[in-house]
């Protein structure tokens, strides 16, 4: 397998605190890679560094061997590094359909058009149709985003990222705050993502992590604490001690509080 997205000795300091401390991580092509760790371990900071929301203090980030460490966030998206957010970041006044159509038009190269209507483009509509079906939003296409049920908003959050034709998809706690009954729908859509898209998943829900991921990286205090395949990590007593033991209750409470 070849590496798509990699970091080398990545460091991010906020004052004296190293939120990301010498992290070297490799996401393989078609990976199902989970990033776990107790609250405050620096998981979201790492995602922010990978996507260009934050600039690292030192270290490099490469995509297919090309250095993207100082590339602007929106240009990384165009190269296929796309994320979702732990707290929904949606266009509240738009509808699911227009949100997706906009994202699709960006990646079909028509988003700078100002004379033709967004809806006049059959290629955009066709791609939206597939996305809406895939993410089970077909029955709410015209509802304003702010009025959607929370589970649907989480699905739209992922759908908008997927509309950007990701090569690497970074999912930041996709079921955070979603009531138990609505989680299954999200699990299923994540499971059904195409195999050629590399996925890096941050999640507190251990069922999802161990069912979905093949590789697991454990972050503690900003540094890589352990890394390996699911079976190894789930048996590792050190991981159980730092994460599963103390983090279990913490994590669940944290995930709930973020909703």
């Amino acid at each position: 397998m070849s590496t798509v997205l990699a970091t080398r000795s990545l460091v991010k300091r906020f004052g004296g605190l190293a939120a990301t401390n010498d992290v070297s991580l490799a996401v393989e092509r078609g990976a199902r890679h989970a990033l776990i760790g107790p609250n405050g371990a620096g998981k979201t900071t790492l995602i922010n560094l990978l996507t260009g929301v934050l600039e690292p203090t030192s270290g490099t980030i490469t995509l297919d061997g090309t250095d993207i460490t100082s590339l602007a966030a929106h240009l990384r998206v165009r190269r296929g590094v796309v994320r979702t957010f732990q707290i929904n970041q949606l266009f509240n006044a738009l509808t699911p359909l227009s949100s997706l159509a906009l994202a699709v038009s960006v990646h079909q190269g028509t988003s700078t058009r100002w004379w033709r209507a967004l809806g006049a483009d059959a290629a955009v509509a066709a791609e939206c149709e597939v996305l809406l079906a895939r993410f089970r939003l077909a029955d709410v296409i015209d509802q304003p985003v702010h009025s959607l049920a929370y589970g649907k908003r989480r699905l739209l959050e992922i759908a908008m990222a997927f509309a950007c034709r990701p090569r690497v998809l970074l999912l930041d706690e996709p079921v955070a705050g979603v009531p138990e009954g609505e989680r299954q729908e999200i699990f299923e859509t994540i499971d059904a993502l195409p195999a050629d898209v590399s996925i890096l998943l941050i999640e507190h829900d251990m069922d999802l992590v161990f069912n979905f991921a093949k590789t697991v990286t454990v972050l503690v205090n900003g540094a890589v604490f352990a890394e390996g395949d699911v079976a190894t990590i789930s048996r590792d007593p050190r991981v159980k001690a730092v994460y599963l033991g103390e983090g279990d209750g913490n994590g669940a409470a944290g995930a709930g509080a973020h909703g």
Binding site: T51, V53, A72, A73, H74, L75, V77, R78, V82, R83, F85, Q89, L90, F91, A93, L94, L97, S98, S99, A101, L102, A103, S105, V106, H107, S111, T112, R113, W114, W115, R116, A117, L118, G119, A120, A122, V124, A125, A126, E127, E129, V130, L132, A133, R134, A138, I141, D142, M160, A161, C164, R165, E188, T189, D191, A192, P194, A195, D196, V197
Partner: protein
């Protein structure tokens, strides 16, 4: 799009290739997407009302001309405020710049109104482009201060450069040439005292701007403005360059505000410091608050209500116009515009959903 098949039982079969696009054109999704830019009946009524107002109210041309200019100015503000979420307390900077450019051009270069209008639009667009860098960074509060500052600077410049602008006296006696219709051999129309030529001229510009802006707001570009208004972080995260789009819409809005100012100077034959004044920037904001933001026509409805209210109250009690305007705004905001235009709902008991 990846050609990996959609897993699970999806209700809609994915179109596998371009040939399926034709079939997809009649799907509910395609129809909904086209529906977003469909002409609504009231839009057609409004466009039809523009020439009708000229035909049916010949005696009111001066007032209607004033309303149409304010409407044009407010549409410009709506594009940056209602669509892109850029707050401004100094939008008169563009209005005044367009007014002075048109007046100076007529006085010093040539009196043709259409050429003058084009020059004023180009100059205001350039001003928009140049000042757009100031509104890219910072918070809403910094944008309020920066826009206010730019308008103040231009006001003082127009005041100090009296050899060019006439200073506090303004540019008096701007004589406009007759209005000729481009690409025809029609004889020119003179701007007369009744204001009918002026109003027809303003109406044509207003209709063109409305039509072009309507295309713009329904386009992918226009949708992206609403997206970055709602959430800049996410707009960047779907691959949009937020700063470039803000620069583009600010430049376009500057051009339209400049056109409004130019129309005022050309149709009244006069430009004074008043066009840069703070009260212009504040008034256009009030007009937009009255008419509503983010649907393009708020400027028109706002301008009509605002000007008619002004004339009505001023005729009744000229001293206390501001008091009644203030009261009206407080009531409007407290009741909410949606309910305000539906008086029959005011005293209905609110039912919980």
């Amino acid at each position: 799009m990846s050609d990996t098949p959609v897993a699970g039982a999806s209700p809609l079969p994915p179109p596998a290739s371009a040939s399926a696009s034709a079939a997809a054109a009649s799907s509910p999704v395609a129809r909904s997407l086209r529906g977003y830019s469909r002409w609504r009946w009231w839009e057609l009524v409004l466009f039809a009302a523009l020439p009708l107002s000229w035909l049916l109210l010949p005696g009111q041309a001066l007032l209607l001309n004033e309303i149409a200019i304010v409407a044009l100015f407010a549409i410009s503000l709506d594009l940056i405020l209602g669509y892109a979420g850029i707050v401004s307390l100094g939008h008169a900077a563009f209005f005044g710049f367009g007014a002075y450019t048109a007046a100076l051009f007529a006085k010093n270069v040539m009196p043709d109104p259409i050429v003058g209008l084009a020059v004023a639009i180009a100059a205001s667009a350039a001003l928009g482009l140049a000042t757009s860098v100031l509104i890219l960074r910072g918070s809403d509060l910094t944008r309020l201060m920066v826009t206010l500052g730019v308008a103040s600077i231009l006001y003082e410049l127009a005041n100090k450069l009296d050899w060019l602008t006439g200073g506090a006296d303004g540019l008096q006696g701007v004589v406009m040439g007759p209005l000729t219709v481009p690409f025809t051999t029609l004889k020119g129309f003179d701007f007369d005292l009744s204001g009918r030529t002026a109003y027809a001229y303003t109406l044509v510009v207003l209709a063109i701007v409305l039509f072009v802006s309507r295309r713009l707001v329904h386009s992918p570009f226009g949708t992206s403005l609403q997206a970055l208004r709602d959430n800049r972080l996410r707009a960047a995260s779907i691959g949009l360059s937020v700063p470039l789009r803000l620069v583009a819409v600010y430049t376009y809005a500057g051009a339209i505000a400049g056109a409004a100012g130019a129309l005022l100077a050309q149709t009244t034959g006069f430009a004074s410091l008043d066009v840069f004044d703070f009260h212009r920037s504040a008034e256009v904001l009030l007009v937009l608050v009255v008419g509503g933001t983010g649907y393009l026509y708020g400027g028109i409805f706002g301008a009509i209500v605002f000007k008619l209210l002004h004339d009505l109250i001023a005729a009744w009690t000229p001293q206390y116009w501001n008091f009644w305007l203030g009261l009206f705004l407080v009531v409007l905001v407290l009741v909410g515009r949606e309910r305000f235009v539906r008086p029959w709902t005011w005293f209905r008991v609110q039912r919980k959903q």
